[in-house]
């Protein structure tokens, strides 16, 4: 016993050092995959408040550009209103739609804190559970996909962006509907890559990449980017498809959170699949 105490005394400094390292590394590894509480993230109230003050100053820096983008989106939507169209037939027609039911609703939000240069980049939004945001909802902007909600507090949420290690959004390359998984290698915030595309398939350069909408997180057809380069991977029968993102995440401000009305039904149905196949289907 005395020896033990003497030992502990002798290596006291190193032991404290090691335990502090272990605490911080365990926190780091755990929180990357399973966020247990909101207090260690920017979704917590105090940090989000301070970041909101900061954002109140800096959000005006890109004001004219952002206004222009919103205006453009407005025009695109207004063009589809019936008042803006020329009537070809004089008769009034009222359509009671029984074929389509709305599946996705959208919650508008604003990015108050973001990073693009780290290995795993998270964006903080100024909307939270009060506005109906829940973890695992999709987030996109008018130009492209942004990420998946990771952690929610009352008034704020943290989004795991497409610029993280295992974001794994399922996407398709457009004209031939090739399905793959979106990844990011941590080098360039303007480019990502698609995994799992067999190298006997022909892919055209600059073909559009959109979301597949398979897991119910995103609706189908939200733009991701364009195919910039196709490289072969050594020793594997797969292409490494480099995608140039259509959204510039360095200046991102206005985003929409996707709420899927039917997600519970889908999960319930998918939960009935025997457990060993479950891993392939749940994202």
């Amino acid at each position: 016993m005395r020896n033990l105490i003497a030992f502990l005394r002798r290596f006291q400094i190193f032991l404290i050092f090691a335990s502090l390292q272990v605490i911080s590394l365990v926190l780091y590894v755990q929180f990357l995959s399973f966020p247990r509480s909101q207090y260690l993230t920017t979704a917590s109230n105090v940090t989000a408040k301070i970041l909101t003050w900061e954002n109140d100053v800096t959000k005006h820096f890109d004001l004219s550009k952002n206004n222009y983008a919103l205006q453009r989106e407005n025009i695109r939507l207004r063009e589809r209103l019936p008042e803006f169209m020329y009537k070809l037939s004089a008769q009034k027609v009222k359509i009671q739609d029984t074929v389509f039911q709305q599946q996705y609703t959208y919650i508008p939000g604003m990015v108050i804190n973001s990073s693009v240069t780290r290995r795993n980049n998270y964006f903080t939004l100024n909307i939270g559970s009060k506005q109906g945001v829940q973890p695992n909802m999709g987030v996109f902007s008018d130009k492209g996909v942004v990420g998946i909600v990771h952690n929610v507090s009352e008034h704020y949420c943290v989004v795991k962006s497409v610029l993280t290690k295992d974001i794994n959004i399922d996407v398709i390359i457009e004209p031939i509907h090739l399905a793959g998984i979106l990844k990011w290698d941590g080098h360039d915030p303007r480019r990502g890559s698609i995994d799992g595309i067999s190298n006997d398939l022909r892919i055209k350069k600059w073909s559009r990449v959109v979301t597949r909408g398979g897991s119910g997180i995103f609706p189908k057809g939200i733009p991701v980017g364009k195919v910039e380069r196709i490289e072969s991977i050594e020793g594997e029968p797969l292409w490494n498809v480099v995608v140039r993102y259509s959204e510039d995440y360095r200046t991102l401000q206005r985003v929409y959170v996707v709420k899927n009305v039917l997600i519970e039904e889908q999960h319930e149905l998918e939960g009935q699949i025997p457990p060993d196949e479950e891993e392939d289907l749940l994202r």
Partner: protein, 171 residues
């Protein structure tokens, strides 16, 4: 102003500078400015390693909360705090350090500061990117990021000292 209040104020100044200004500067190409290690460097000479590591851990966790890194900054700051006394001993004068002086560039001279802070900052950055990327086949990328971030961080730390320290000395 006594030493304790000075360091408490510095603590908050460095945390706010890092989180609200330097974390928001996204230059790309692997540049990642981190100036908060300067706080650990500027703590008094006679401070023990354990309290150093405690402070480093606290500061790291606060910065982690602001940048969603959950312990990455804390780990690398504790690493730096652990090596601080070792490097100080190695480069120290034979009769020991003058407790009235502070380990900044004005009191200790350019040469000493460049060596000691350079080594500590490199340790900090190397550990930070090693843990963040954690893929050994990307060793070149880790080293590139370390050098690209450590050199500008070092220069900004030199500049910051003339803002933060000279003023507090004249008061």
């Amino acid at each position: 102003m006594n030493n304790l209040t000075k360091n408490i104020i510095r603590f908050f100044v460095f945390v706010l500078l890092q989180t609200l200004i330097f974390n928001q500067l996204e230059i790309g190409y692997g540049f990642h400015l981190m100036i908060h290690p300067l706080f650990i460097m500027l703590l008094p000479f006679e401070m023990g390693v354990i309290s150093l590591m405690g402070l480093a851990f606290l500061m790291g966790i606060i910065i982690d909360i602001f940048s969603n890194t959950y312990g990455l900054h804390a780990s690398s700051l504790v690493m730096m705090a652990y090596f601080r006394p070792i490097v100080f001993k190695f480069y120290g004068p034979r009769e020991g350090y003058d407790p009235l002086k502070e380990p900044n560039v004005f009191d200790m001279g350019n040469r000493w500061f460049t060596f000691v802070f350079g080594i500590l900052l490199l340790t900090h950055h190397l550990w930070f990117f090693l843990i963040e990327i954690f893929q050994f086949n990307q060793l070149f990328f880790i080293l590139q990021k370390t050098i690209f971030s450590a050199v500008p961080s070092f220069l900004i730390c030199l500049l910051l000292q003339s803002f933060l320290i000279k003023k507090s000395k004249t008061k």
